[in-house]
Symmetry: C2
Subunit: 651 residues, 2 copies
């Protein structure tokens, strides 16, 4: 007996409902509803090789509706990936199983992106599709020529980021991007019509997409739609009309199947409805064999690609794309030592990027419509546009969140290292994607300028207060706030070297003096170090970051003039400092002296280094509109205001 | 000589370019480009009374493109608002002037919303328009019958939040909302076409909006478009074709006029082009008089409204809308004391809301498609829909950011107190609007459930780690993390009483015991208090929040069993605790004992209360997928894991 299309799809349905049932937690509705569409995609179109899940020229598949994680776990298992095993699936949503509640790229090869926070999967896929076209333009069809596929739900389309993502994709004419929209008309609260009256097809068309549709439970209809979408020279949305939870006879088509186990009776009824007369987690051998055969479909394409790579003139360049040397750093810093520059750290960042972008062909820069302010465009970059994918600079438009998610997608794709800029205060717009950079361990560099009241007249809406500290709280995100040209270059080197997580540079709008006079060692790598040692007997340690290190230097001078010895510690990175040995940390921040922090942002959190008994100078309210020097005075962040308070505290 | 339309508009242009020039900072392009449109709006349509800027039935005007702040400063000044004075305008962007870089609602009556972070102004206007329709349905045309007008730029339309905002507005058929789009084809980076190829008209139409257009420099054309828009039974977008910086002959139509002073020469040339032969900041008397006359246009409407209000049967109810009594609290807590409930705090919140929504008719609830999870819908609320604006529950859809901004708009409008829910981890999606709640001092209550790893199986993408702490960093946002039913009710009372800022409740998914046995006083009002006092000699103070207070109680029992005295301090609110006297704080957190924090989130920041020498139990990495009890064990957040570490630390 041949294995039918339904058999394949029902294997996904059964594994999904069984796993959710065993966990008594999860989302059966989406995997059951999209099982047919996914079957067509994996059986006929997706270019993948379970034996080599990281093969660079594979198609990318992103389950943007990440709550339907059992869909991809089922597919990876059935097509023969090493993981998840059946045991992994039995342990769905249990500690230790790679089959987590939502799919996580760091748990399973084959999961290209961590999804669940709605809208971001599709937005990351846009980044993957950009990376693909860029690498295709750079290395040619022989090495790079693949599609990016997305399954997205109504939630992914309703989130604001969808607008930014599809706007970017439409503008860049990313024709290798195909989105399969699970149009089941149901959200958690009930019918989509409770909250939306939008004509989604018209909206996508208005944004430069090709749109077609299919019956999401009819193989031929799905095939026809995908064929159409593949032929287009635009990104494509396929509206798949589906029934959520299809196969669960009493609950399908309602929000009841979305996010809870079906229950024993409904699972039994679904088995009847589907004609699936097998036990829990049981997949008959013939269906298993058919799916495994599908999993072998890509081996030939993969082997041919390996052959092409082996003899390709660009092989070395292609394979070097995911390594970022810091060889550029020393000559660049030597130049600064010979010829010091008193510039804003955003300008220092641009200067470093001139060296970086020359040395590292894999960087792709950009800004969310603040190019001239973020100083992200260097002379050697040209724009990446629909016509010129080989360009290395993206005008992201006023799309901070979309930019961040696209950068995640590029980094996940590999072969490129993205960086992108906006004002630090607008990190709030992108924060959910910055968190996903950290969780997914992507090498993304955020260039966040105008990092304090030092931006001046734009006022409270634009002045970060809580931002630097709040970003430090995100696990696996390295936040840097360099104080001068040399630290900025050092922090850039650290950001690019880190291949298992994002970095964020908080940079000043205003000019700052070059404080460092040495460059042999990357001192920022330790997170904090003694920039200036006390001359008189050490009574005080001044800890400062970024633009306030200059102030700490002035405070030190005022204290030393009164015979009070004071160190200045520059602390560009908390994360790196906390990772040093206790000996080093105690040596930099000795006990039994007054520790004082100076940072033009919230003081909350600085007790970590000053102790409760130390002093913390900062700003614990919203900012104000005025010229930067006036604001520093207004908020008491000057040597003249700070030094006397330290003297008073010393008694 | 009569004052012409151009004279009026040029007065705006001249003040704008002069103020930017004097500050050598600001954005002349937008005010100069939209001066004609704004002149039509203020001269003919906007219902306002500068003598009574807070008159409840006034039209609302939101300058969503807030960088063009000189447009509204000019208009408020010219039409006769008490502020800004000419002196205020001369001091544009200087400390102390209410004419800040971006318009701020707390600086000037007549500025309805703080704008500048792009997209949010329009999204807040949606909230205002909802509040208007709701109050209209509740109180009738005699008391509430006005429009909400918006000027928005390309940036406002490109931001993701625009999609959420217009989707909500279209769905709710907010026909009193009219958006004037400054279609100048320029962004900061250059032409809009650098980053976007979208057909904006088609997108708005797809979302249920009426769209028309005008020549933004032709009075008749502008009038015709507004007349059309007003007649529609849908929200309307008017595409105003304009030239950015119109009047500056050498720079207009380019990004050069967007965000910098024109420079002396170009200002002089603009004066020539405009035929404005007056000195800096000088407005001829006849033009001034004409604008002042316009300012008096609304007095009659205002007076008639006052008369209608005076004799209206609902007057008392109408005037009571902005006061929130906590009379509901005591009887509700008495009930809990008599009949303790061990429920999740999200459920406790729903129970409190049952009492609140009965006692306070001005609340409007909602959720971003997590109604059943956030427990935000009480039995006595019906949905607010296009047909039934008197409803008090909004199905916001999967639009966290749009929901938060709409709530800001509702609160700014007044007459309603909005609350809305999502998962705490998705506060990241809404964070930029939460910040604007705090900056704008709006009474908005955020119901953020699933507040820790305690949500269990959904895993790291859904488990807040850094969120509670990062929200505490936002100035003027009161963050509450209550531990049981009684604290939850107390925190709700505090949130509703606070009329000058937002509150955020972080609530558990999992059940928690009712720990409080007293209810006479709102103990949460102090932010932290001694829930249980040491029985043996006090050696330890255990500080915990929310779901970890239960754990602290168990740790205390384990310590006391070993003869170690330990207090349990419940700390639902850092902000409120920090506002207490030093005596109170020292009494609750005495020195010279070991202070220990327990919170299922980042430990960074807790040094503030534990000191460097204290202990901090929490989670400084991303979460994991598994059942909640297993996760607490996995992360060492159990009495069995914590108590021995405390004993060890005591030596």
């Amino acid at each position: 007996m041949t294995v039918s299309f339904s058999d394949r799809a029902n294997a996904i349905r059964a594994l999904s409902m069984d796993a959710v049932e065993a966990a008594n937690s999860g989302h059966p509705g989406m995997p059951m509803g999209m099982a047919d569409v996914a079957t067509v995609l994996f059986q006929r179109y997706l270019k993948f090789d379970p034996a080599a899940p990281r093969w660079p020229d594979r198609d990318r598949f992103v389950l943007s509706a990440g709550h339907g994680s059992m869909l991809i776990y089922s597919l990876l298992h059935l097509t023969g990936y090493a993981r998840p095993t059946l045991e992994d699936i039995r342990n769905f949503r249990q500690i230790g199983s790679p089959c987590a509640g939502h799919p996580e790229n760091f748990e399973l090869a084959g999961v290209e992106a961590t999804t669940g926070p709605l809208g971001q999967g599709l937005a990351m896929a846009v980044g993957m599709a950009i990376a693909e076209r860029h690498l295709n333009a750079t290395f040619g069809n022989d090495l790079v020529d693949h599609h990016t596929w997305v399954i997205a739900g109504d939630g992914c389309l309703m989130e604001g980021i969808n607008h930014e993502a599809i706007g970017l994709a439409g503008h860049l004419k990313l024709d290798r991007l195909i989105v399969l929209w699970d149009d089941n008309k149901i959200t958690i609260d009930g019918s989509v019509s409770l909250s939306s009256s939008e004509d989604i097809v018209a909206r996508y068309e208005a944004t430069g997409w090709y749109v077609t549709e299919c019956d999401g439970h009819d193989e031929d209809s799905i095939v026809a739609a995908i064929e159409e979408a593949r032929d287009e020279d635009r990104p494509a949305l396929i509206r798949c009309r589906t029934i959520i939870g299809k196969g669960a006879p009493n609950k399908q088509g309602t929000s009841k199947v979305h996010g809870a186990a079906l229950g024993k009776d409904e699972v039994a009824a679904a088995r009847e409805t589907l004609g699936w007369h097998h036990g829990p987690f049981e997949v008959p051998e013939d269906i298993r064999a058919a799916w495994l055969e599908t999993g072998k479909r890509g081996a030939e394409a993969h082997n041919k690609w390996q052959e092409r790579l082996a003899s390709h003139s660009d092989r070395a360049a292609f394979e070097a794309r995911d390594t970022a040397s810091s060889d550029w750093l020393k000559p660049y810093v030597d130049g600064l030592l010979a010829n010091p520059q008193n510039v804003a750290t955003r300008k220092a960042s641009e200067m470093a990027l001139e060296a970086i972008n020359t040395a590292l062909p894999q960087t792709i820069g950009g800004s969310a419509d603040l190019t001239g302010s973020n100083n992200t465009l260097t002379r050697n970059l040209v724009a990446l546009t629909a016509g010129t994918y080989e360009g290395r600079y993206i005008y992201y438009g006023i799309r901070e969140f979309g930019m961040a998610a696209a950068m995640n997608g590029m980094a996940l794709h590999g072969g490129v290292i993205p960086y992108g800029g906006t004002f630090l205060v607008f990190s709030d717009y992108a924060r959910a994607a910055i968190r996903l950079s950290a969780l997914q361990q992507t090498r993304v560099a955020y260039v966040m300028t105008h990092d304090s009241i030092g931006l001046g007249e734009d006022g409270p809406t634009h002045q970060p207060i809580e931002h630097v500290m709040s970003l430090r709280l995100i696990p696996n995100l390295d936040v840097y706030r360099p104080c001068d040209t040399i630290e900025t270059a050092e922090c850039w080197a650290l950001a690019l070297e880190k291949n298992d997580g994002p970095s964020l540079l908080a940079l000043s709008r205003q000019n700052l003096p070059q404080l460092r006079t040495d460059g042999g060692e990357n001192r920022s790598a330790k997170g904090a170090y003694r920039l200036l040692a006390a001359e008189a007997e050490r009574k005080v340690v001044l800890i400062a970051t970024g633009s306030e290190v200059e102030i700490a230097v002035a405070v030190r001078a005022a204290l030393e003039a009164q015979g009070i010895g004071a160190d200045v510690v520059s602390m560009p990175s908390w994360e790196r400092f906390d990772a040093q040995t206790a000996e080093y940390r105690d040596e930099v921040l000795p006990h039994h002296v007054l520790r004082v922090s100076i940072e033009a942002g919230t003081t909350m959190g600085w007790e970590r280094y000053t102790g409760i008994g130390g002093l913390r100078f900062g700003i614990d309210r919203f900012g104000a509109s005025g010229p930067a020097p006036a604001l520093y005075e207004y908020f008491g962040l000057t040597a003249a205001a700070i030094a006397p308070k330290i003297v008073a505290a010393l008694g």
